[in-house]
Symmetry: C2
Subunit: 117 residues, 2 copies
Amino acid sequence: MNLLIPKKWPHFFVGNATPDFLFIRPSGNPIDAKGFEQMITGDIVQEKAEITKIHRFEFLSDNIVMCIFTLGSKFTYKGTPNDDLPTVTSIFKKVNNVWKIHWMQRSTGNSDLSLWD
Amino acid sequence: MNLLIPKKWPHFFVGNATPDFLFIRPSGNPIDAKGFEQMITGDIVQEKAEITKIHRFEFLSDNIVMCIFTLGSKFTYKGTPNDDLPTVTSIFKKVNNVWKIHWMQRSTGNSDLSLWD
């Protein structure tokens, strides 16, 4: 499932996140939608970003979804190529009947997909 | 705030988590409450585990809390000492009027606490 068109990907959070959205990087450092957009359009050349496998998709309430998935992310960061398979925890919130991404934390890139079987 | 007494810490999730609880390690690999208990009592000697700072504590609904915090974790893993400052995303769920931990993802250990200011 190739969800994310590379050209639109850097701007995704800016248009589809709650105002207090943060993305937690593998380092543990937070970045907001605008900061993510700048990082992606500056230091990162994204080649591929797709949801490899959804492990859990759970309605925590009518307006809250928790989605846990493995991301397949191929990109070049400051010239260094990466082919990552991180685990992502994401929280979505329905605001005025529109689903927005509210929180996201991404692990480092070498997760073992077989551990989810 | 030193929440976790080293002796009881390895067993915390077994007694206080939902049945489908998973802990996502910095690698992205999941581990369940029982597996965590075994890892902690086997390979890890925990010296300190405390909540250094809570960045967000939000009721997503009456029965769901999302808590984002920086953990201060001092431990020895297979003989190697670690003094970690990871970011943790955690989800708590009230089940039969008792709060249980439902999901947890932890970053690597060198986050920059000043980025939260």
